[in-house]
Amino acid sequence: MANKITTNSRNVYLVGNPNSGKTSLFNAITGERHRVGNWPGVTVQKIEGITDTANGRLIINDLPGTYSLTPATPEEEIVLKTLDEAATGIIINVVDIANFERNLFLTTQLVELGVNPVVSLNCFDSFTRAGGSIDLQKFSSFTGTTPFPTVARRGEGVSSMIEHLSRSEYLAPECCNNMLALPDLWKKAAEDALACQGLKWASATPVQRYNALRELISLKPLESDIKVQEIRRQLATQLSQGREKPVKVIDLACELASDRYRRIEKLIAACATIPGKSIPPWQEKLDAVLTHRFLGLPIFALMMAWVFWTTFSLGEIPMGWMESLVELAGNFVRANVQEGLLQELLADGIISGVGGVLVFIPNILILFFWIAILEDSGYMSRAAFIMDRMMNSIGLHGRAFIPMIMGLGCNVPAVLATRIIDNRFQRLLTMLLIPLVTCAARLPVLVLLCGTFFPENPSMWMFSLFFVNLLVLIFLGHMTSFLFKTVENSPFLLEMPPYRLPTAASVWHMLYEKAMHFVEKAGTVILAGAIVIWVLSVFPREVPLSFNYEAELAALKSQAVTAETTEQIAALTHKRDIEQMEGRYMARIGKLMHPVMAPLGFSWRETVSLIPGFLAKESVVSTLTVLYLPYDEDLGKGMSKTGMNKLSAFVFMLFTLLYIPCIATLGVVWRESGSTKFTALSLLVYFVIAYLVSFAALKIGEALQASNGTAAEAVTIVLVGIFAGWYLLRTLLNTFIGRQCNSCAGCSGCPSKSSDCQG
């Protein structure tokens, strides 16, 4: 991509390790002036900010955090892909000086490729407080970089760095003997590898240089390229000189990494004093309690209970305000706008749609307030550490626990909370599973349905529904992580950042970004969906009626009011409403879809009621009530009169529970995943699973009813029950006591002690 540097605008790129304070630095430089987009070709969020200086404008690009230029995830690949473009602008390499060696690895890679970044030596305060010191002059001349000590969380040192960046003449410092540069042996080999492609080191771009180096250490070099193979062999021989153990070609990657760390160690020894103990004792003590074998889980559970309670119980208070505000607005429109389509559109379509978006805001703000604090304080990594084993048993990352548990309250903030998972694959997997967590809004629907269909013992049936739901959740988790195991090979590395006091600024940034992002991105989708459903339910306006109800009603109304006429009026109005409803697009679509649903034992009425259920699951019940009115006032009785029995009611409930997440959840999934394909695919998955599970339940139930004690069928049912129970139990056991050994095919190849391996 061509770079457009004019005299008064300059592109700046932030690169650095995760947890290095890159985002804090970005916020400190740009304030709230962000633009969120996507990187071309990939669905990874691109964040761009601007800051104006006396000498012109700086456009700050926040690149995804990475430990190394060698990518392990699609996010990290962006850094490499942008490197050539970035090299024409200014690269700021954010380095957490409290964790100097590992952070300098990325710096070393950049310097090797001929990039001279501005280095922000971040967290400088804790470094000096612990007794560390660094000679900036030496650091600059030994590395060819421009260092700036910063404390990004408090904005210290940022202004002088900006001042430096905006200078009209930006020159990297001269450096004749760079301590981080590639050693001659390696450089010669890389030059030779470049020459195979007809390129020269001096004129090659940083990415071309990177690729040449990568080719040297690659596990799977291009087999056709015999020349490179030869260069690799030579390099290995040369490196072996003077060593006890010869260097093998496959060890080259290890050699290069070791060499880089040797250079880093030398550099640090030459220009800095590193505090002997980087982790203060109070932190160790706190860690010992928070991740304690017995105390760790209860403490975490208490914290989660607190977060959950404040988010969803305290959150109800502002939600109530929002709802009454929406109601007020609706009433205002009804009172002041002429009755008709416009009034309906405003009151029932738009205002209730906007209300449907706004009600989520209190939940989101409260939840993200806690998430910001947990994340900033460093506890989030400990929570992931504690919960990882359990989440890993269904293929998820430890960080997925908080989003999943929040899903019990409401799926919408839960999906947003997946942002705490860095790894994109893991994030998508969590997003896929969250809608299968029964949220609080689904409970009243279940209570209502179970109470209607099974008045004798509703709780038992509810429990069995939950049980099936949980099985589906675990099964889907297992399946996806099994199917995509080969796609996903980024290692599990859970960095434990030091504990810190969260700052008001970073919490504020998180809340502001979340709320704005939700309203702007997901809000519009939810609103649009609500309006579409509304349109389907009120159009076409004129439905051809079988009978002139209006005339008859008018005639009845003109008569004297008696008990008989009121009853007749009510009956006629019902009949008219139903006929109108049947004529609307929604019912037409429902009837069209009915053949698909018929194998599950649903009548067209159930099928129709599933469509508004997309907007909110409680609408399923209200739609059904209207549709069954001609048969009976009581929904349960009405259904049984038209051939629905307990089994089909159970199957229907099961289907309702699983078939689709509500539109708000779908909206945030679409926006957060950034992928229409993923959203569509997950919709299909839910639908297929709901269909198959319901079908299986129907068949098993039918067999159970028809069997009259037939041994074979009874055995089948018992077996299915036992299998389901065993599956659940096995997952739980694996979580808590089992020592699942993922890394090896069998005991012979297992690196752990044989007693541990259950192969």
Binding site: F105, R293, L297, I386, N392, L493, S743, P751, S752
Partner: protein, 96 residues
């Protein structure tokens, strides 16, 4: 003969002092000796400083037995058995 007995005692010593990182007992320090170069995740571990010769300490196992936090190059990182099993460590002969 002398050579062989020397070799055997050396081998015996090696068996005792070499562990997979996954089996390094909590609280003990070892030195990274080797890393499984054929694993696709090895590169990232190398980049993060898990190179031969680096001291590493097993800090704590999670309440459910996995993952384990390690201290290396002045920072702490949690690894699952899947990752830590790729790394061989040597416990210093003179103890901790």
């Amino acid at each position: 003969m002398l050579d062989i007995s020397n070799f055997i005692s050396k081998a015996a010593k090696m068996v005792r002092t070499t562990y997979s990182l996954a089996d390094l007992p909590e609280g003990s320090t070892g030195t990274i000796r080797d890393i499984d170069a054929l694993s696709p995740t090895a590169q990232r571990l190398l980049d993060m400083g898990f190179v031969p010769g680096t001291p590493i300490k097993a800090i704590k196992r999670a309440p459910m037995g996995d993952p384990t936090t390690y201290e290396i190059r002045g920072y702490q990182v949690g690894l699952r058995r899947t990752e830590s099993a790729l790394i061989d460590v040597e416990i210093k002969p003179d103890g901790k």
